[in-house]
Every structure is written in structure tokens, then in C-alpha cells.
């Protein structure tokens, strides 16, 4: 029976992104590293960021399909997961509740005819 067991040899099981090594995606990733001066301290970190970069390339393609009049692709944030990007570069608090008026009141309506 043991001879019939198929041993997993790809990285799908381990999730270490080794399948991306040597691909066009890795070449794009290296170009991204050079362009934005990115540095990763360990090989593990490099592989982790490569995996995120690959996912972000797919996300950019989705955005391109949904937003065809803009150009979407590699940016300085392409090695960050959505959660990391939100935590580090966004930062409006309480946005979920919609408009918060604070103490400022609402501006009077202006005449915008013509």
C-alpha cells in the first residue's frame, strides 16, 4: 500500500512559495525590489513577500478589469498584504459609520444652478 501513496513534492502543501522561484513573477518581483529599494533580511522573508507580490499581481489584474479607465499594476505597496497596507498606510477612524459630523455642523446649501 505504501508504494501507492503519492508524495507531495510541490509547495502547495507547505505554502512556502517555492513554485514561484524562477518564474516571470519572480523576475517582476526582483525588478520591483530594485525599483523601490526593498530589502528583506532573510530568505524566508523574501519568499513570503514573493508570495504576497504574486497575489497582488492577481489583485492588480482584477482591479484593471473592474477599473478599465485607470492603469493598475506594480506599486511600492505590491509586497504588502491588504491587511498590512490598511494598517500602515490608511488611517481614517470610524469610517464604517459613514459621515461623522463632529462639532462643525453642516455648511449651508449654495446655489449651483447654471
Amino acid at each position: 500500500i505504501s508504494n501507492n501513496i503519492i508524495r507531495q513534492v510541490t509547495d502547495v502543501l507547505t505554502g512556502d512559495n517555492h513554485a514561484l522561484v524562477g518564474t516571470a513573477t519572480e523576475r517582476q518581483f526582483i525588478s520591483f525590489i530594485n525599483k523601490y529599494g526593498k530589502e528583506y533580511s532573510t530568505r524566508e522573508e523574501y519568499m513570503h513577500r514573493l508570495g504576497i507580490f504574486a497575489k497582488n499581481m492577481m489583485r492588480a489584474a482584477e482591479h484593471q478589469a473592474l477599473d478599465p479607465t485607470a492603469v493598475h499594476g506594480v506599486t511600492q505597496f505590491s509586497d504588502l498584504s491588504e491587511e498590512e497596507f490598511e494598517a500602515r498606510f490608511l488611517g481614517v477612524q470610524g469610517g464604517k459609520s459613514g459621515t461623522l459630523l463632529g462639532g462643525g455642523g453642516e455648511a449651508p446649501v449654495l446655489d449651483v444652478k447654471d
Partner: protein
């Protein structure tokens, strides 16, 4: 209202800034609106301090006590105006430079460069927003930034973009009449938005977003500030 309008051409907008790895977009949106209002009142463009807000402003919203300004962890532009009215005003960038990290408050009232007296929320009608922009100056805006992580250029006009979840503070500086849109057949109007992710992001640090559809919730959280001239 003019067909197109851009406060950058009139000298009311400072160069694009860089918030770094810090959720302080709300502070940059706040300073941008004050820089513009002060320019219109005095004719002088003064670069103002975001770090003062990051370090010193811990104001909570009047209607939602959980929505508090908290340095690199986020904040609201309307809270920042409340803080600045109480504190007396804001220092210049040079006097209180940006570090991108929260630190001890080093605000010096004697070094105030611009005094803030009041602020208003602009109703969520895009014609009203355009009118306020032209008459008052650049406006602080909150929007959903989901498409901004991958944005490189062009007029962003996504088919689906959440209008309720606003997570990023930016500065509305103008609008244009003719940005090409394939799907919406022909030229469509757009907003010109100043971001705080440096000049390497987007169109030299700017974002163009479709106008007229409350795109990504951009018309839900718009505010203007009033400054005091000495």
C-alpha cells in the same frame, strides 16, 4: 462654476508629502485643507505640521466616542479641527517636522503659524462639493482606498467600489471635465485628489477619481476649515 478647476495652478497646494509607514493620512488631509484656507485668506502658502497632530491630538468625535485621533493608528479630520480650535492653531512643518512615528507632544503655542476658528461638513452632493471647492479652497475628504494600492494612473472609475467603508483621508484640490472613460462612453468628469504617499505613487502623488457617482464614498465625508488672519 468653471468646467475645470485646479487649486495647484493657483498656488494653494504644497508639494506632495509622504506619510511613511504610519496611518496618519487624516493629519495630512487636515493640514492640506488648512494650508489652502490660509493661502486664500492671506495669499501665503505655509507648509504646516502633521507631526503636531500625530503627537498632540487625541480628540474623540462628538457623536462617536470610539472614533478618536490616535497618531499612526488613525484619526478623523473633524476631530483634528476640534483639537486645533482648542489648542489655538498649528505650527509650521519646519518648526515641528514630520518623523512618521508617534512621540511626545512638543507643541509650542508661541510658534503657531495658522489659527483655526471653525469648520463645516459639506453636504454629500457633488455639485455642492464643487461649489465649495471653488469658493472656499481645497477640501478634506474621506474615501474607500481599496483601488489605490494598485493604482498607477488614469481616471479611476471602478464598476464596484464600497461607498460606506471610508478608510483613507485625502485632499480634494480640483476637478476636470474630460477624463476618457471607455466603459462609460466618452469623456467623463473627474476629481483631482492629493494623496500623502509621496510623488512616486500615482500621477506624481495625485489620484484622479470619477466625478458624479459618490465614487468610493468620496462625497460622504467632506469638510472645510476656517482660519483666522492676524
Amino acid at each position: 462654476l468653471p468646467e475645470s478647476f485646479d487649486w495647484r495652478e493657483k498656488g494653494a497646494v504644497t508639494p506632495v508629502k509622504m506619510q511613511g509607514s504610519c496611518g496618519s493620512c487624516w493629519a495630512f488631509s487636515t493640514t492640506g485643507s488648512i494650508e489652502g484656507a490660509n493661502f486664500i485668506a492671506t495669499g501665503k502658502l505655509i507648509n504646516l505640521s502633521e507631526q503636531q497632530l500625530v503627537d498632540c491630538d487625541h480628540t474623540c468625535d462628538a457623536t462617536d466616542k470610539r472614533a478618536c485621533n490616535d497618531g499612526c493608528s488613525g484619526g478623523l479630520m473633524t476631530n483634528a479641527y476640534e483639537y486645533l480650535i482648542k489648542a489655538g492653531g498649528i505650527q509650521e512643518e519646519e518648526a515641528y517636522p514630520y518623523t512618521g512615528k508617534p512621540g511626545e507632544c512638543k507643541f509650542s503655542p508661541e510658534k503657531i503659524a495658522v489659527r483655526v476658528t471653525n469648520f463645516t461638513n459639506i453636504p454629500g452632493d457633488e455639485q455642492q462639493i464643487a461649489a465649495r471647492l471653488v469658493h472656499h479652497g481645497p477640501l478634506a475628504v474621506g474615501l474607500n482606498a481599496v483601488f489605490m494600492q494598485t493604482y498607477i494612473g488614469g481616471v479611476s472609475c471602478p464598476l464596484i467600489c464600497g461607498k460606506k467603508f471610508l478608510n483613507h483621508g485625502v485632499l480634494l484640490v480640483g476637478y476636470g471635465a474630460k477624463g476618457f472613460s471607455i466603459l462609460r462612453l466618452g469623456n467623463r468628469p473627474y476629481w483631482i485628489i492629493k494623496n500623502s504617499w509621496g510623488e512616486k505613487w500615482g500621477e506624481d502623488g495625485y489620484y484622479r477619481l470619477c466625478r458624479g457617482h459618490n465614487m468610493c464614498g468620496m462625497s460622504s465625508m467632506v469638510s472645510a476649515v476656517m482660519t483666522k488672519t492676524s
